[in-house]
């Protein structure tokens, strides 16, 4: 059964997304030299007008014969019967996760006991104690191996469940104008108005990023309308960004406001997109013997 997604789920309130640093291209490489290369960033143009869309007809036969189909559906319509519902079987994988976690927990308890025992003795009296210590270290190592195996199973089962999603973040702040609200209108007409508080403005000026939307979107051509409001745009000023979110990937759209020109308005926003690499990398940090 699929997880229940939330369509166009906005963040409860605009959040200064410190965690977004991990999603930024190049962020991982800056902290970990062994991390994979940064995803490719594509600059996208913010247009003054909505990009035209090809108009194509679909299901013409169905629409032309709607009366026939409606009549057939009326004949097919069934009244739900009262009956006993039957519970479905629990996915055995979920039971296995619990069992594996319990096994690892038991090993951890043993390791904790070992540690206490070791501390109580204080000094190793003989070569036999060193032998015991080695076996205890082996036990701890086995426990770590069990945890790795469990995480591997979890990754194997759930990695790749990324649904098609879009995250929109703001960065920078214009120097020549006061920006009070940024509104995002998604494909389908839903509008998210994000008023910028003084704290958020200060954070943007200091280089922070503001996540204004993160939610599921259909994997198809999307046009995002960005509307600015502020002292230079009392009636609002709009620009349009065309996106193609690929299926089962997280697409990030960054709207850099720092180059915003009052005269040019929304089209002077520097926009860029990239795909978040959701793949979990396996790192075996154990040193060579």
């Amino acid at each position: 059964m699929l997880q229940r997604p939330v369509r166009h789920r906005p963040v409860p309130r605009p959040l200064l997304a410190v965690a977004l640093a991990a999603l930024l291209p190049g962020a991982a490489r800056a902290t970990d030299p062994a991390a994979p290369s940064a995803p490719a960033v594509t600059e996208v143009k913010v247009e003054r007008t909505r990009p035209p869309r090809e108009r194509l007809a679909t299901l013409r036969f169905l629409k032309e014969n709607r009366a026939f189909f409606r009549a057939r559906l009326d004949q097919l319509h069934q009244t739900p019967q009262r009956g006993r519902g039957e519970a479905t079987a629990i996915d055995p994988r979920f039971l296995a996760y619990q069992r594996m976690l319990a096994e690892v927990g038991a090993a951890r308890d043993s390791a904790a006991g070992i540690d206490q025992e070791r501390q109580g003795r204080g000094l190793f009296a003989s070569i036999n104690d060193l032998g015991r210590l080695e076996s205890q270290l082996d036990q701890v190592e086995r426990m770590l191996a069990d945890q790795r195996a469990r995480l591997g199973v979890l990754q194997g089962d759930f990695n790749g469940l990324q649904r098609t999603a879009l995250a929109i973040v703001l960065s920078g702040y214009p120097r020549a104008a006061v920006l009070s609200t940024v509104s995002i209108t998604l494909e389908g007409g839903r509008t998210l108005a994000v008023p910028l508080s003084a704290g958020q403005v200060e954070s943007l000026q200091r280089g922070a990023m503001l996540q204004v939307f993160h939610g599921l979107v259909e994997p198809r051509s999307q046009v995002v309308e960005v509307t600015l409001a502020g002292d230079r745009w009392p009636q609002g000023d709009s620009g349009f960004v065309a996106l193609e979110p690929p299926r089962d990937r997280l697409t990030l759209l960054r709207l850099n406001l720092s180059a915003l020109e009052p005269a040019a308005g929304a089209p002077s926003i520097v926009a860029s997109t990239w795909l978040h690499d959701a793949e979990l990398k396996t790192h075996d940090a154990r040193p060579e013997p």
């Binding site: 699929l2 369509r7 679909t58 299901l59 599921l216 198809r220």
Partner: protein
């Protein structure tokens, strides 16, 4: 079944006699390049190849959405492939239907269906359009086209729409039209690919 408008061709026009007026012929020729050339620029594919892509979008639209209907949106070729297919989903929770039209692996149309279409879900497994068309051609379609200068017009995948005796069956309905004769309907069992029945209308 006679009240189904079988004479609708793939560009949404009522099929007209060949010996129409000069104006009608001119309009036909003027309209032809756009539709045909557009279809030729894209790779045809059997209907089944677009199910995953449309389902990925439908589940985001509504988690409980299920596929209820498939129809070719562009001409179907001799192998049962079309450059664009339409996939209709119904969501019980939303009580709405939404169609996705796919071309070259991408969704090029996504729109809610204005009419209420609370149709039952298609069977999970069904023979693809190539096998269904081969069965229909073999049984009656090829002979119909030869004798009446007919052509394949539509391929529809639905459940219970054209088979009163077995409303639970998912079936392909293959429709051939001719300017000189009543249209031919061939109903193909989508579970096994066998022709169930044919009729004219």
């Amino acid at each position: 079944m006679s009240h189904v408008k079988a004479g609708i061709d793939r560009r949404g026009r009522a099929a007209a006699p060949i010996a129409g007026s000069a104006l009608a012929a001119a309009l036909w020729l003027a309209a032809l390049p756009a539709g045909v050339a557009g279809a030729r620029d894209h790779s045809p594919f059997p209907a089944g190849a677009g199910v995953d892509g449309s389902a990925a979008a439908a589940r985001i639209w509504a988690p409980d959405a299920f596929l209820v209907y498939v129809e070719n949106d562009e001409d179907v070729d001799d192998h049962g492939s079309a450059s664009r297919w339409g996939y209709l989903y119904f969501s019980p929770s939303l009580q709405k239907s939404r169609v996705y039209s796919l071309r070259d692996g991408a969704i090029v149309v996504a729109e809610d269906l204005e009419m209420k279409f609370e149709a039952p879900p298609l069977a999970a497994e069904w023979v693809d359009s190539d096998a269904a068309l081969a069965a229909a051609d073999e049984r009656a379609g090829r002979a119909f086209c030869r004798e009446h200068h007919g052509r394949l017009s539509q391929m529809l995948l639905s459940r219970g729409m054209f088979e009163s005796d077995d409303p639970d069956a998912t079936t392909w309905t293959v429709i051939y039209t001719s300017p000189h004769a009543a249209s031919l309907f061939v109903l193909v069992d989508a579970a096994h690919g066998a022709v169930r029945r044919t009729w004219r209308g």
